[in-house]
Amino acid sequence: MAEQRGTVGGPVLTEWFAKPDLHTLDVYESLGGYSALRKVVTTMTAQQVIDEVKISGLRGRGGADFPTAMKWSFVPKDHPGPKYIVVNADESEPGSAKDRYLMENSPHALIEGTAIASYAIGGHEAWVYIRGEYDLPYEMLRDAIAEAHAKGYLGDKPFGTDHALDVRLYRGHGAYICGEETALLESLEGKRAQPRSRPPFPAVKGAWGLPTAVNNVETLSTVPWIIRHGGVEYASRGTEKAKGTRMVTVSGDVQKPGNFEIEIGVTYRDIIEGLAGGMLPGRKLKVFWPGGSSAKVLPASMIDTSTDLDGLKALGTMGGSGGIIVMDDSHCVVKAAARLLRFYAHESCGKCTPCRVGSNWAVRTYHRILANEGSQLELGILERVSDGLQNGRCLCGLGDAAGWVIESTMRHFHDEYEDHCLRHTCNVGKALAHA
């Protein structure tokens, strides 16, 4: 079997990951699992659960960084009829693999957290929308849910109480856009996954037209810990404004790629040079994506940037989904950007014109540049397309993200773009010649 690459025995999310067979209910429960759900359904009100999570300062870990308790509180309390928690397990941000890591190691933590969230919004049924490629996590969740039902932790009378709770699974079929919450809801309803215009927000009109809170896998997997240890304890970690711990995935040109649980506020140097073992022998860091391919790139000189979410926002980038892609000086930034634009063009759902047309313009432009047919004209086109994709011209963030890739790589590596467009040479050749 492939060895686990990442934190085991970290402070919160990966606390129990060193234990064999953690994915089974027996082991999970022997360590304290399901005590949070038991406590919630037998002793707490929905409002008390929301308050505890509010104290913790937990924010959404899917990329949007929205306060979790606030999201739950937006779901109308007096709504008659079904309300839903929908779990976004459609992790598809390039460079991000942490949700897979969490689900494969501890599926019960996600189920427990999901059930707690359902209780907090006064709902009974939760749906996990899991990407179709995740066969193993799907099977593990399926088995874990069956175990929880057999034990009476899910079902009509969880822990003997009257608040019915169930977690259901729905498989995606390959579309990056499903990671966007309204596109995910469309897909869950059996439609082409195209984002909705807001308002109405999902809290009012979400899955199947009913009040819904959409939460990320990591966010919900954190909730049982917060209930067990208290919101204050969770909030004691991290920075003043960005509390707690989070998962990051480090991939690319590092010695030890993996999924690591970090306390928010450590620097990217701590992660890349510490946890991920540094660069490959003889190579130097050139650039990294701090939070998935959609986060604006940071050059090597900014490796001491903190993972503090607000600090990253101030820099114009984001902690996003935690996918840190590291690239060394043997790779060409223009080629990397071209590859990512191919991704965004392929995954554009086609609904908004700037994204559908702009991303493909960029792909064709990069194609000409890399075929040594570039000129000043191509530089100008990229700048204009990048601007056209951004600033809320599209319904969701996919268009912006595509624009950010172009803009941030051009800003920090304009010389490489000029080499390609004006001199038809590649900077990387030079770097290697000096190596």
């Binding site: 079997m1 498989r171 480090v250």
Partner: protein
């Protein structure tokens, strides 16, 4: 003309009741159709539409949106090769080139003469710490090298071939065999078989039953 078997149609007709609204059954139904036929023929999509009381054009519209639905014949073993940035930095493009030679096709989507193989380049599959990686027959394969690709192809070509270090569950699940069938989009029987291997045991991979 490939069409769906009567018992599958019945199974599809039972799907809508599982969801808050019947339309959600479209993708699980297409999944079942694709598992049976290998890919979605126009007739199959029409039959799915009829069974779910939907417009055939609507069903086709859904099928064409998602990359895991195939509207053209595919090989018995489909290689989904990640070539997104993390995998490309680790040499995915060379791996794909090698795969083409190993399965005897010139381009993505082409089916090998024996009908066994085809491949496509796909976007990030969320296992970036193991780059370069791919997905074949419902399982991920990690840290690909040319040798590993050769071994994987040989294994698929001759099912009795000793196993490559295929990805199995981090831990064995005693509950797995007893697991109830919760969702209509479950893998076909045997699909999860190799996940039940005991930890650290290199027992021969169970072959997935196709269709």
């Amino acid at each position: 003309m490939k069409a769906l078997s009567p018992h599958l149609i019945e199974e599809i007709k039972a799907l809508p009741a599982r969801y808050p609204q019947p339309r959600s059954a479209v993708m699980p139904a297409l999944d079942l159709a694709q598992e049976e036929l290998g890919y979605l023929t126009p007739e199959a999509m029409t039959e799915v539409a009829t069974a779910l009381q939907l417009d055939a054009g609507y069903v086709e519209g859904v099928a064409t949106f998602y990359t895991l639905f195939h509207l053209e014949p595919i090989g018995k073993h489909r290689f989904y090769m990640c070539t997104n940035l993390s995998c490309t930095l680790r040499g995915a493009e060379e791996i794909v080139e090698h795969l083409r030679g190993a399965i005897g096709v010139k381009e993505a989507g082409e089916v090998s003469e024996d009908g066994l193989f085809s491949y496509e380049e796909v976007e990030c599959m969320g296992a970036c710490e193991y780059a370069p990686m791919c997905r074949v027959d419902h399982r991920y394969h990690y840290d690909l090298t040319n040798e590993k690709v050769d071994q994987l192809v040989a294994e698929k070509r001759h099912p009795a071939f000793p196993p490559a270090r295929a990805r199995v569950a981090p831990h064995p699940s005693p509950a797995r065999k007893a697991a109830t069938r919760l969702g209509p989009t479950d893998l076909p029987s045997g699909g999860g078989g190799d996940a039940a291997l005991p930890k650290k045991t290199r027992a021969p991979r169970k072959k997935k039953t196709d269709g």
